[in-house]
Amino acid sequence: MQADSPEQSSNPTATRFSNGVIFSGIAVMVVVIAVLFTGFYWPGWMKDDPPYEFHGGNFTPPNPAASIELTDQDGNPFTLAQQSGKVSIIYFGYTYCPDFCPTTLVDLQKVEDALGEDADKVDVILVTVDPERDTPERLKEYLAFFNPEFIGLTGTVEQIDALKGPWGIIATPQPADGSGQYLVDHSTALYAVDQDGNLRLTWAYGTPVEHITEDIQHILK
């Protein structure tokens, strides 16, 4: 629709006519815009949540997690592939660790508690970075103190070393003290592997329990 503006017209009648056309045009445009909004945008707001922003570091796009083939605390073979259908929260630590590891495990127990019924769909896995001391028996004794359902994994030194590169883990034993005990420098991040075996998230040490829980709940959706 083409309407002359009042300024371009010398005819008062034409001006009034043009005004009518302009008002009609505006009305139509308003309706069209409203329809567009209603048709394409409004339902979008109603149906979809805003994009979820993970608290943890988000691997994009998700890729299959590096395989883990070790021995669990009952002496049984374990592969990460057998976790299919579950979310796995993986921590690399060790039982002689006085502070970071137990603090993390206590936090992960709180995550499990917060997940309620969904906790059945989530496993906590402690992979030792100290295979020389952490036998399956020792892992079993240790994890029983936190949650016997937690999975503890160990293997040979070579098996554990082979995980470091693919998982980006640093773990370096310190010199032993007079009684042969030693501490291990190690990465403290957590990793989440989803139901399809993809590495999805990592959380730095100290990430609040609520944040980990929310992220897990989103992965479970």
Partner: protein
């Protein structure tokens, strides 16, 4: 949340999330006594291996407030619940968490509060002599340069206490002491055993 490549993420994790800790030696026959000044190099020559039968570790957290005008020094700590107690510090430097024994004791500056908490400063209990069971209490003796020795009854529980009676000794006020439950770990303990031999 920033999206980053796996390689960059791993680099970031490597930089930010490593917790170097310094293994420190002890006087192997000095049961229960802590001599925080010993260094691994100095003591490793002794080779007086204890063959400790238990090798679980624990941590005690608390706050120490120096209300006086002179600095004090936490020289050592002992408990019958562990073979050895060490003061461990945690410092953050360039994103790297560094944990190490506080050799020579820990300064308690005048007018300041030193807080021991999970992920930070802690008293590390080495080679637990029994389980630290929830609901139990462990006695730990702290020796200060000026305030002298004070014995605390530390509750073993999963969370930091919200309210407790302060212990006052000299210019020091000690509060919120707690120990996290921990097993003494008898399995696969003591000296580093040969590499685990998994069934597969």
């Amino acid at each position: 949340m920033t999206v980053f490549s796996r390689r960059h993420l791993f680099s970031a994790i490597a930089a930010a999330a490593i917790t170097p800790v310094v293994a420190t030696a002890h006087n192997g026959h000095d049961h229960g006594a802590s001599t925080p000044s010993a260094s691994p190099q100095a003591d490793s020559s002794h080779h007086d291996h204890d063959q400790a039968t238990n090798s679980g570790t624990g941590a005690v957290y608390l706050t120490i407030t120096n209300t006086g005008d002179t600095p004090d020094l936490l020289e050592s700590a002992t408990t019958e619940a562990a073979r050895l107690v060490q003061v461990h510090s945690m410092t953050m430097s360039d994103g790297v968490m560094k944990m190490e024994e506080q050799a020579g004791g820990l300064d308690i500056p005048a007018g300041e509060t030193v807080t021991f908490e999970p992920g930070g400063w802690h008293l590390m209990l080495i080679d637990l002599q029994h389980d630290l069971s929830p609901g139990s209490v462990l006695d730990i003796a702290l020796v200060f340069e000026h305030a002298g020795e004070v014995t605390l009854a530390v509750p073993v529980q999963w969370e930091a206490p919200t309210g407790d009676d302060p212990v006052v000794t000299g210019d020091l006020t000690i509060e919120h002491a707690w120990a996290r439950p921990a097993p003494m770990l008898t399995a696969g303990s003591g000296m580093a055993t040969p590499a685990a031999t998994p069934t597969d």
